[in-house]
């Protein structure tokens, strides 16, 4: 059904709201969305938009949805778009909504959160392809359960081009930008020739045998390159970040569910982002962001285990967090105290020494006063003050 957008609001018990949309989500409807939003009470913590009867969605409608997302962020309200027709799902995926909103297709369950390790952070709603790409760690590309060539057999430039496209908004980049990223400083004509050869290599990896034209995973037009919308059914990086965001939102209201989301993120993280290409500049920023996300998840899981009285598991999470970033002085102190609390003074001392070495090597400095005092207390045999540790972990984890 087309025409002006109609919004039917339902407020079931439990703090959520559902909007059933019907008509066209175009220019005038952006204001309708905001008006309906203003009529929602501030207590609404989750809003589901049912797209099943939305006929047209254009760029003005997208702008309206972005304004809604801005407003929802301000109230810490989660958005879910469900019963998305495939054409709308592809457009929303192209814009990047899958990174901020749960997207569900017509056949997907309503109400229950998708399993982040299988659902692809909502991208599954739009995906018609079957490529699964795991880039947190050595590159793994699979298709419908079949192992595709791993990093060892994907040529370096093809791997870098794939990663570069995966990190772009809408998996789309201009050819000029791709050339500049892969061959910085090279003669433009030579870079374009290299890009053609690299594209050929990458298509051999990503495409089914015999795939041509529109079936190819990579589209090129008008000076731009794009991984075809929907060709990638699952990509671990957005799933990882989506799990972290969900955990952060659930942390106060539902700590058990939050911990499960953090654990899901930690399971997805097999190693550093695009670990096969440690020196390729475009990967550096996203890699550091993922590393910080992992560290955060591990610290919060350490806290969750500590609060459940499972000190050994808490120690294990802290050890892993420190393996990722060894100069976290507070985490090192918590580890020392937990070792001491479980009667492992020698381990506590080793944790302190590792901190000293890491700080000297990476920061050319020494541990601060708090770490020195903790070490002195442990060395003197004084029992650790776990209540104080609990307060500190809650404040800083």
């Amino acid at each position: 059904m087309s025409g002006a957008l109609r919004i039917d609001t339902r407020l079931p018990a439990g703090g959520g709201a559902t909007w059933t949309l019907a008509g066209d989500l175009v220019s005038a409807s952006a204001d309708a969305l905001m008006e309906a939003w203003e009529n929602l009470g501030p207590e609404v913590s989750g809003l589901v938009l049912d797209f099943g009867a939305v006929h047209r969605l254009d760029s003005a409608g997208i702008s309206g949805l972005i304004r809604l997302l801005q407003a929802a962020r301000g109230r810490d309200c989660d958005l879910t778009f469900e019963r998305l027709p495939g054409r709308h799902a592809q457009v929303l995926e192209l814009v990047g909504f899958a990174r901020h909103v749960t997207l569900r297709g017509p056949g997907e369950g309503q109400g229950a959160p998708a399993d982040p390790e299988t659902a692809g952070a909502g991208v599954a709603a739009a995906a018609t392809g079957d490529l699964r790409i795991a880039a947190l760690g050595p590159l793994v590309i699979t298709r419908a359960g079949e192992d595709r060539p791993g990093a060892g057999t994907v040529r370096r430039r093809a791997r870098q081009l794939l990663g570069y496209l995966l990190l772009q908004v809408g998996y789309t980049a201009s050819r000029e930008a791709a050339c500049a990223a892969l061959w910085p400083g090279a003669d433009p004509d030579a870079a374009r020739v290299n890009l053609r050869a690299t594209l050929h290599d990458l298509r051999r990896i990503l495409d089914r045998p015999g795939a041509e034209g529109a079936e190819s995973a990579i589209r090129g037009s008008n000076g731009a390159l794009a991984l075809r919308s929907g060709a990638v059914a699952w990509f671990d990086l957005p799933v990882f970040h989506s799990s972290l965001r969900a955990a952060g939102r659930l942390r106060d209201a539902d700590p058990l569910s939050a911990a499960e989301r953090y654990r899901a993120a930690v399971r997805i993280y097999r190693g550093e982002l695009f670990a096969d290409d440690p020196d390729f500049d475009p990967f550096a920023g996203p890699r550091e962001e993922a590393r910080r996300g992992l560290t955060l998840a591990l610290r919060r899981l350490a806290l969750a285990a500590f609060e459940e009285g499972d000190l050994d598991t808490s120690v294990a999470y802290l050890l892993r967090a420190l393996a990722v970033d060894p100069v976290q002085e507070d985490a090192a102190r918590w580890l020392m105290l937990l070792h001491a609390a479980t009667g492992r003074q020698a381990e506590a001392v080793r944790a302190y020494r590792r901190l000293r070495v890491a700080m000297a090597q990476e920061l050319q400095t020494k541990p601060g006063r708090e770490a020195e005092m903790t070490y002195a207390e442990i060395a003197s045999g004084r029992p650790p003050r776990l209540a104080q540790l609990a307060r500190e972990m809650r404040e800083r984890a």
Partner: protein
Amino acid sequence: MYRARGAVNTLAPGGRLVVEMTSHAGWVGGVTALAEELGLAAGMPPARAEGVAAATREACLNAIEHGNGGGTTQPVLVRFEPSTEGLTVTVEDDGPRFNPPQAPPVLEEQIDGKTPARGWGFPLMRHLSDRVEVRPRGGPASGNAVRLTFLHEGHPPAVEAVTAG
């Protein structure tokens, strides 16, 4: 207001249908519906024809807002040209030249309010069509022509092979 030259039911490969439209968003719906009908008439599956309509809509809105700058005195011309390869839609305005953005906006910057929540027209056109070209319509400061190409399924993707360099 519309003024058309050509007829849908006699439009064949090699033919042309030109619609002159008042530069106002209220008239875009009719052209959009026509674009979908022509996509179907050209033998495209319904989903593809919907894409033709959606991309044409974006090009028209762009011509009205950015090309003609919101003025209603300058018309928007929409040319539909079917061929054996597919369908080409060209949308022309009378306004000052514009350069389409090569890269799509960054959603996160728009959510954070660093940039306005707009600018998705060309990314949508590129997503929905096989090729988007923007050219000056005539002499200096005399308008823009946005040409959208929709190839039939299975047609060799000349866009990739030819423009790869």
